[in-house]
């Protein structure tokens, strides 16, 4: 079972308490009716699906209930960091160990 650090509870807790909530840092357009079909499709459906570090949202569902963001390596399943919703996207070069940058 993965252990996930909740940035609100400030504890590292079992995955069972959390739910996955998709890719992070996707901003809803200010004016949806001004979007073309392609732009709207991009916002609704098109996701990165990278092999490697992935910025994603998680929710501490069976705990504080908060959504937060995480950087997880999709190959190793290792969490590089977690941070509060609304916090700026952390720079990958500060997260990866030497030699993997």
């Amino acid at each position: 079972m993965l252990l996930i650090h909740c940035p609100y509870c400030e504890e590292t807790l079992p995955e069972a308490e959390f739910t996955y909530a998709g890719q992070a840092h996707i901003i809803r357009p200010e004016n949806p009716s001004g979007q073309t079909d392609d732009q709207w499709e991009e916002f609704l459906f098109i996701r990165a699906n990278p092999k490697g570090p992935h910025y994603e949202r998680w929710r501490h569902f069976h705990g504080c209930g908060r959504f937060f963001n995480a950087v997880r390596d999709t190959v190793s399943d290792k969490f590089l960091t977690t941070y509060k919703a609304g916090a700026p996207r952390p720079d990958l070069s500060t997260l990866l160990p030497e030699g993997q940058k």
Binding site: Y8, E10, P14, E15, E17, F61, G63, C64, G65, R66
Partner: protein, 184 residues
């Protein structure tokens, strides 16, 4: 189908040499959500709302646990509900908040005995020893969200939704007997 746990009389429901599971007497349960300067609510409730998640503040017969950055659960004697509600309603003008009576939603199971902490590990993936005495946590127990209060080294309370309490109790009862056999 067996009757819901809430229809049973408060008292011991299952016991073994390992642990004892009892149904606690009904109490008032109020869910409080608020943001910003909490001073008006602190004054209305006559206590200081804890701000660290998991922290419990007892104040006379009232008890508050912080469940999230803007969420608390208040336990109080059943006849205290109206007093709390009207005091908080007076604070509404200065601090808009949500106070909801959820007394009927949950029941409290008390779990105590030499192997109480070990018993909880059958349904809870969290490190039980990571919960300090005198604090509590909202967590996950065999599929259900529960609030686990740690009153002592070997004394816990578990608030579980009434509709799930039969399932949770059955699991605890089985565990109670198994642990007694294992440690016999």
């Amino acid at each position: 189908m067996s009757a819901p746990i809430s229809q049973k009389a408060p008292g011991v429901l299952a016991a073994s040499t390992a642990a004892e599971i009892a149904l606690a007497a009904p109490c008032a349960r109020l869910s409080l959500r608020a943001r910003g300067d909490l001073a008006p609510l602190n004054a209305a409730l006559g206590l200081t709302l804890p701000t660290r998640i998991g922290q419990v503040v007892p104040a006379g017969e009232r008890q508050v646990i912080c469940l999230g950055p803007d969420e608390w659960m208040i336990h109080a004697p059943s006849d205290d509900t109206a007093a709390i509600a009207s005091a908080c309603a007076d604070a509404y003008a200065t601090l808009p908040h949500s106070l909801v009576d959820v007394s009927a939603r949950e029941v409290t199971l008390t779990i105590k005995g030499a192997h109480a902490a070990e018993l909880l590990t059958i349904g809870c993936a969290r490190d039980i020893d990571g919960i300090p005495v005198g604090e509590g946590r909202r967590t996950f127990f065999d599929g259900q969200t529960v609030i686990l209060w740690r009153d002592g080294d070997t004394a816990f309370r578990m608030d579980v939704w009434n509709s799930f309490s039969g399932h949770v109790f059955d699991l605890l009862k089985t565990g109670c007997a198994e642990l007694a056999a294992e440690h016999a």
